[in-house]
Symmetry: C2
Subunit: 426 residues, 2 copies
């Protein structure tokens, strides 16, 4: 099968993945764990073939004049390889989610009704640059009993193909079908258009990349999409609060790393704590070179902080995901105003309240309409590993099916199981 006839090529990949998915769905825990251990071993032993493939991508990227950080993302260093190999071993050590039957209840008719966790079937993954995502997605597919079709970035195509070969070898070594993990071997963009429009072969699409890419996929897909758009996260400092805790946690939420989607982009402060809190907080931000875009009240309270970089916030600032040493700062009159502001300008990703007041903590948890809501913790904790999911295929900012960090469970479905002794409907 050559790749110049894209519709036929993609239909072929889809049919192969669909066929393999029924075998994966009934694969035993030991088979799946063997495949993951085999993959970890093969990654560590991959040696020159993988290094050469990676070098080709890096040389092409440098020749094409890609920025140094983009080129770095492509690099399969020894440490990157070791990390993904360990990830496979961690997945192997986790409980198998598939086949678990829960909530079985006897009904008045005599039947027993419960739910069994089963794979979704086939997922399609569309991603950019970092080739280690190939292994993360493949290993999650294996453990969750799904098949998958992977479409990485064109700049990583040789690395991805080399990694994919290791995945297929590991599957075969475990007695599982190599076709359970398919890689799109062409960089033709038409392949993405087909991948997202084959409901007969693909049950869900998981895109990872820039907002533009994800919006386009969500608009054009003919299958469900688990998607992550903005991370405009808020930290709200309540009226009754431990000031030391508030400074420490807010500092971490904003400055521990600027680029992740769970970094805080907007700071809301209750008017009662603002006079004591904001000058202290502002001094920390000033020392780290974090620009503060302020409402008038916040600006007045921060104006005396030496070295502070201050600006007036616009409505666009309240909605902005900076991913940079910039934070918007607003003084609010009440918890209600904070909640309304977050639900209006936020991106429903992750928002935290810092408070000593229990009823306010509970109201914030209930009423802020976000995938993760936190009390007295850094928004940076919103992460599959930190939540104990073992691995993360993505983060969902939707409410449907999977919300927030998506691990193995997000790749499964619950079917109803009825156990009878010959009961009939009256």
């Amino acid at each position: 099968m050559t790749a110049h006839d894209i519709p036929a090529y993609m239909a072929h990949l889809g049919a192969a993945a669909r066929a393999a998915s029924t075998r994966m769905a009934r694969a035993g825990t030991r088979e799946k764990n063997t495949a993951l251990s085999e993959l970890a071993q093969r990654l560590r032993a991959a040696g020159p073939a993988l290094a050469q493939a990676n070098a080709r991508d890096i040389a092409a990227a440098e020749q094409a004049g890609l920025a140094a950080p983009m080129v770095d993302r492509l690099r399969l260093t020894g440490q990157v390889i070791e990390t993904v190999a360990e990830g496979c071993e961690q997945l192997a050590a986790m409980p198998d989610p598939i086949g678990e039957i829960t909530g079985v209840k006897r009904r008045p008719s005599g039947i027993s009704v419960g739910q069994m966790r089963v794979p979704l079937g086939v997922f399609g993954m569309i991603y950019e640059s970092r080739p280690n995502v190939t292994i993360e997605a493949a290993s999650l597919a294996i453990k969750s009993g799904n098949a998958c079709i992977l479409r990485g970035g064109s700049e990583a195509i040789h690395s991805n193909m080399a990694l994919w070969r290791l995945v297929q070898q590991a599957l075969v070594a475990a007695g599982l079908p190599a076709e359970a993990v398919q890689l799109v071997e062409t960089t033709d963009r038409a392949a993405v258009g087909r991948l997202i429009a084959m409901p007969e072969s693909v049950d869900v699409i998981i895109p990872r990349g820039g907002k533009g890419l994800i919006e386009r996929i969500a608009a054009e897909a003919r299958v469900p999409v688990i998607k992550h758009l903005d991370g405009n996260c808020h930290t709200y400092v309540d009226a009754e609060v431990d000031l030391d805790l508030a400074v420490t946690v807010t500092d971490n939420a904003k400055t521990q790393k600027y680029s992740p989607c769970n970094a805080t982009e907007s700071l809301l402060v209750h008017a009662a704590s603002a006079p004591a809190f904001l000058p202290r907080m502002g001094a920390v931000f000033a020392a780290k070179g974090v620009e503060m875009r302020c409402c008038a009240q916040a600006r007045a309270l921060l104006s005396g902080v030496p070295g502070a970089v201050l600006a007036d916030a616009t409505d666009a600032d309240w909605a902005e995901e900076y991913l940079a040493p910039v934070i918007s700062v607003k003084v609010v009159a009440s918890l209600d105003e904070a909640i309304d502001h977050i639900n209006r300008f936020g991106s429903h990703h992750t928002d935290a309240i810092l408070t000593n007041h229990h009823p306010n903590a509970m109201r914030f948890l209930r009423e802020v309409d976000s995938a993760s809501v936190m009390v007295n913790a850094s928004t940076r904790f919103a992460d599959g590993f930190e939540y104990g999911l073992g691995a993360e295929i993505g983060i969902s900012t939707d409410k449907f099916h999977a919300r927030g960090p998506v691990g193995l469970e997000g790749l499964t479905s619950m079917k109803w199981v009825v156990l009878g002794q010959g009961e009939v409907r009256q």
Copy 2:
């Protein structure tokens, strides 16, 4: 707001529903249950206003020459009213799903992580003929803390509006916003096109009606759809089986009612039990006038049954949802053939195995890729009430988010809750 500017009208409904949804999300259990009790009372006391509205719809339907069964579906008889009123009271008596926090675990970082069940927000419901669906959808919205926008069939518009007024009165009597339940007051079809394309106001669409309607909505919707297409359900009679049980259950699965989506449409019989089972089963079907469309082997075994209406099955028969006194019958050589046949020709709705062989029962449960899988029970049990969901907004033949009968939980989402004491990310 008049209805001649459909986009503006629908945007207005959507904005009102979205605003009301935040109030519904934080409504107390007592408020929601009061609204449901008030609604039950008002339904029983509705009297002439409701009867007159219903009479208008029925007169119009009769004048338009609608078939008698279609006209009957419109009728709000005393019994229909009492049934929906009791449904509201049953929902009031059920546990409130909203706010429940589950699975809280302490993580090595010190934070506690769990999940809180919350409403989806706003659902849109598109349905045909029977006006009691207006009350079923409204009451499920109230209990699940959602707002909803209802779009019923044009033939029931006056009945739906009269019922809707009772819903709004009940909401107000409970101190909840009347806008939590919106009804599209125009019968213009353009309103449906808008309803399914307002992601800013509507989180999910639930269509109930003919397959054509649902396929069109699924293809055009810009928000998730909980949809139910075919119910091509199978009963498979295994090699080791109690023949009395097999005849009783298969009879019930096919003939207890012909029209529901969970009625069995296809009978598979293992070759080892077919010679004893099929003539007995065929006699029952012959007595009830059920036509049997057979493979060659089945036809040979049934040919001696007096009065049997037999025909040769085509591939189209294996895929057909008859909703009528017709059943396709096939003899299979193995459990594997049965499972493959069901996964190939079935609609992933409900399929049952009748067997005394435990390993075969377990394989069937695991490997048949359907929303409901059953052992030794009638497929007719696939139903929200029979499963103990208390109420049913629809049945999903998708794997994503909600699968099979959808009750209150399908109208909710789980958000992550993090409880800390000032933890920061390392």
